[in-house]
Symmetry: C2
Amino acid sequence: MPQGRPPVVPEDGLTTRARRTAPVLAVHTGVGKGKSTAAFGMALRAWNAGLNVAVFQFVKSAKWKVGEESAFAELGRLHAERGIGGAVEWHKMGGGWSWARPARPSAQSRTGGSDADHAGEAREGWAEIARRLAEQRHDFYVLDEFTYPLKWGWIAVEDVVEVLRARPGRQHVVITGRDAPQPLLDAADLVTEMTKIRHPMDAGRKGQRGIEW
Amino acid sequence: MPQGRPPVVPEDGLTTRARRTAPVLAVHTGVGKGKSTAAFGMALRAWNAGLNVAVFQFVKSAKWKVGEESAFAELGRLHAERGIGGAVEWHKMGGGWSWARPARPSAQSRTGGSDADHAGEAREGWAEIARRLAEQRHDFYVLDEFTYPLKWGWIAVEDVVEVLRARPGRQHVVITGRDAPQPLLDAADLVTEMTKIRHPMDAGRKGQRGIEW
């Protein structure tokens, strides 16, 4: 609650205002549902506060599209056309990141690819995010499914932690995915673990539009 | 993943299609962050799929406003004006539910109130939701912070479970809040527990706009 008093007032020499505006690094991990959904929910809130939002999805296929992507496209349009909320960018890995693609290739050519391709793409994605953090391009970053390239050793977690710790200004970052590595958890201000207690797919249901994607 | 095969195909006599379109009852509980945020994230996805979304916040004060409320107001407008996404209604307890208020009273008169008032309002809210479920008014319901009136005995959980189990058609319901009672968990298709691992307010930070609300 915004009115809430923090349980402890730290002796860090910061004013309340400085602490209030401290940039947040959040990690949503665990095997339960809701890690990405909650991150996009946070992005929605950030959009509403007028923050410049950028989503980077570390997914293998650019064909994969969640409902949030379309919804945020509309929100971005609202910002561009009417000045409501914040600006929105949405980038996906899978056959090359959008900023690296000169023209829009066919959906076919943007899927598949080897692990080596994916590793290279993931590294390219992180390099771009590191550049944007350095130049303070956005206010609110979602690095969706970013724990996997860390887990698989494609990107060095030490490098990620160093860049995140050194990021200038007031840039919030939310990282999602299972098995977040410990150094990332240690660096985070907010860690939430989503635990699966029961899921309809356990009972043989398939995912459905509007619910699963 | 939509393409995912369920681990078990149940012998329930249902076709895959019937199972696919089965309405979902989801509960987000636990002491961690993200319960409501993930519910609103699901609502965003539902909105994008064209579902008619209704949010009922069981909060004590109508003054309390999360960023999602404004964002969903814009999304509802997009639907009304351009036919994009689904319709949106957002109702809050606290000094009387909006549908029960003849005219908009001042913000002052809509806050405060005794526990007896809150209990009565919570019951009114649930009665209205039960009516809407019976008449299939919406496709996607968020009952935010609804576990509290159950926990405090203001609303009988058995009644809630009975109404939810008997709800006609294909109406999805997401309920959030700590300490969800066991009969509700038993009735749910999807239960996610959000576990707090670390929170910036532990370190004496205060909440901030765009992040906490």
